[in-house]
């Protein structure tokens, strides 16, 4: 087990390295560099002077030197300057990351709160009316694109019924730290979170339903029944415990979906998080911010996948990798 964890952790290093090289070359392809950006709109700086500054900042060095400097800075948390916001990228991200973490966390919690009972009901009463309803919901949620669903949610609950605020993360008139402030923040989270989690339940419901259908005919379940254990306890204790463990491990794999979803959801609900920052920055051609965001997202997925692999291996030693 220890050997596996070490091996899996070391596998992550070439992945991170490759990711950073790929993003470095993508960044090099983006028009404009730190110098043109910093002197944008200052006509009194001549081309020769710019060239001199480039030389000073090492922008004419061989790529491997530039890469080394770039990745060294990135590891220390320095992603350069944002040309549009005129502040360090790190500072800009710090202001937004909290919102995205709240959104993602709430989305995950609601997803599991919905998916686990649904999967349990569908697996226990297979073929029944509730099961058919849940299977249909699962089909629909699998097929629906997140941006279409989020827009429909916004239209119906944000405008037509007007139950929830239609955008932002908190009302600006609220006083920070007060109870109303927290409550308002939660209210702003309802629609974005539901739009994400109602579609994310698909894989968990599907998995749990299949697991329970398979488990409920196994010998240990029959034994429990034969001993006279009540049906509810058979399901809630014996079967669920058996099937639930891998679900916790799938958490890390959900990160990819969460990141892609947050780009759409934050755009539609004008929620000030990292996904929205990504779209705004690429629209404004603010490429240092774009590069930092792609690098962070890629790294988050790599680390999440690694954690999931390890947890899955611990709860289910039959699973082998590679």
């Amino acid at each position: 087990m220890i050997a596996f964890i070490i091996k899996r952790t070391f596998l992550m290093i070439p992945q991170l390295l490759l990711l950073s090289v790929l993003i470095f070359f993508l960044a090099k392809q983006m028009p404009g560099d730190a110098v043109t950006g910093a002197f944008m709109g200052k006509p009194n700086v001549s081309a020769e002077q710019m060239e001199k500054i480039r030389q000073q900042h090492g922008l004419n060095d061989p790529w491997i030197v530039q890469y080394g400097r770039w990745i060294g800075d990135a590891i220390r948390g320095d992603f350069g300057q944002s040309f549009v916001h005129k502040q360090p990228v790190t500072q800009l991200l710090a202001g937004r990351i909290e919102n995205t973490i709240w959104l993602s966390l709430a989305t995950l919690i609601v997803t599991y709160l919905l998916a686990i009972p649904l999967g349990l009901i569908a697996g226990r009463w297979t073929g029944g009316f509730a099961d058919q309803l849940i299977v249909t919901y699962n089909y629909v949620s699998f097929a629906t694109p997140v941006f279409v669903f989020a827009l429909l949610m916004l239209y119906v609950f944000g405008f037509v019924l007007d139950w929830f605020p239609s955008g932002g993360s908190v009302d600006i008139r609220m006083e920070e730290g007060s109870m109303e402030y927290m409550g308002d923040k939660l209210k702003h989270l309802v629609l974005p979170v539901l739009s994400g989690s109602l579609l994310l339940t698909y894989s968990t419901v599907q998995y749990l339903r299949n697991e329970i259908i398979e488990t409920k005919v196994k010998d240990f379940v029959k034994t429990a029944r034969a001993k006279g254990v009540p049906e509810n306890v058979v399901y809630n204790r014996h079967i669920l415990r058996h099937s639930m463990l891998p679900i916790a491990a799938f958490l890390g794999y959900e990160i990819t979906g969460l990141i892609a979803g947050s780009v759409f959801i934050e755009t539609i609900f004008s929620y000030p998080g990292l996904g929205r920052l990504f779209i705004d920055s690429i629209m404004a051609r603010d490429f240092t911010v774009v590069t930092a965001l792609v690098l962070i997202s890629g790294a988050a997925v790599i680390v999440g996948t690694m954690l999931s692999d390890i947890i899955l291996r611990i709860v289910d030693p039959r699973i082998r990798l590679g």
């Binding site: 992945q15 993508l26 694109p145 827009l151 755009t267 629209m283």
Partner: protein, 294 residues
């Protein structure tokens, strides 16, 4: 009795799909609905001129639905109904192109890994492992922005470059199992060249798997294309997609008060996706003997 059984065992994959869809009412209506959408969208040039649909007419912007404009007009005074048909046509065409191109990459790489196994497979798998964890939505958007002379053709290339990883892995794992079969071993002993075995023996035996996968990913690719266009990083502005109409809904005023601009397109995408998925599920059952309906 015996001959009857043998007959059902030897049905072709196509007849199996037809059988499966005829016995699944939802899939049956899905295919009817999808077929009518496709026919109407592709035949629209017969009764609507693209010129008049895409011409900007500022005197009639954002008109609500009426008898002359069934779904009203958009921000440029263009007929939403006409744009809807044009957009559906473009979105479907691009979805199919991306799916076919990605299918080609996936088949080539998957067959190579599955047929040769060993070190070739090891290398391809490590590369796939890496590609699958890339934040592909973000990278596609970056590519769309930095590619010079951006066009529909470039867009298809970029999207398909990120759409084949899962397919390759699927074909590879089935190929690995298939290559142990006797008919492949026999062919190898007879000295048949590798490429011939791959193309004419291995590939036909994986075809049902590939068809199932392509049907299901077609829906996903249409969703991704319209999503990217919605964000503003999809089709160039000269080529309207279903996402182009929905993109107007990034303005809250339009979401709330001018629903006729974006709602029909959103619902049409939903209908197309549901139809393709239902058909895909029926095709999947046809390919899997354990799940077949009768």
């Amino acid at each position: 009795m015996r001959s009857n059984e043998a007959k059902t065992e030897n049905r072709t994959f196509l007849s199996m799909i037809v059988h499966e869809i005829r016995h699944d009412r939802l899939a049956f209506y899905s295919i009817l609905l999808l077929a009518s959408i496709v026919v109407i969208a592709y035949c629209s040039p017969l009764f609507l001129s693209i010129d008049s649909i895409t011409r900007i007419e500022l005197s009639r912007i954002y008109q609500p639905p009426s008898t002359s404009y069934w779904f009203g007009t958009d921000d440029g005074g263009r007929d939403v109904f006409g744009q809807l048909l044009l957009g559906a046509r473009n979105s479907l065409t691009i979805g199919v192109c991306v799916t076919l191109l990605a299918g080609l990459y996936g088949i080539v790489i998957g067959l190579l890994a599955g047929y040769y196994g060993g070190i070739v497979d090891q290398i391809i798998c490590r590369v796939l492992d890496f590609l699958m964890i890339l934040p592909s939505l973000m990278i596609i958007i970056v590519f769309v922005v930095i590619v010079p002379n951006y066009s529909v053709f470039n867009f298809i290339l970029i999207m398909s470059a990120f759409a084949w990883f899962g397919k390759a892995r699927l074909i590879r794992s089935r190929g690995l199992a298939e290559r142990e079969q006797e008919y492949i071993q026999a062919s190898k002993t007879l000295g048949t060249p590798d490429w011939k075995i791959m193309l004419f023996e291995l590939l036909p035996n994986l075809s049902s798997l590939i068809i199932v996968n392509m049907t299901l990913t077609l829906a996903g690719n249409i969703g991704l294309e319209t999503g990217l266009t919605f964000l503003g990083f999809g089709l160039p502005s000269g080529t309207p997609s279903l996402g182009t109409l929905i993109a107007l809904a990034k303005n809250p005023d339009i979401v709330q008060n001018k629903w006729w601009v974006w709602l029909p397109a959103a619902l049409l995408i939903l209908v197309i996706m549901l139809c393709i998925n239902y058909i895909g599920q029926a095709v999947k059952r046809a390919a899997d003997a354990r799940q077949r309906i009768g």
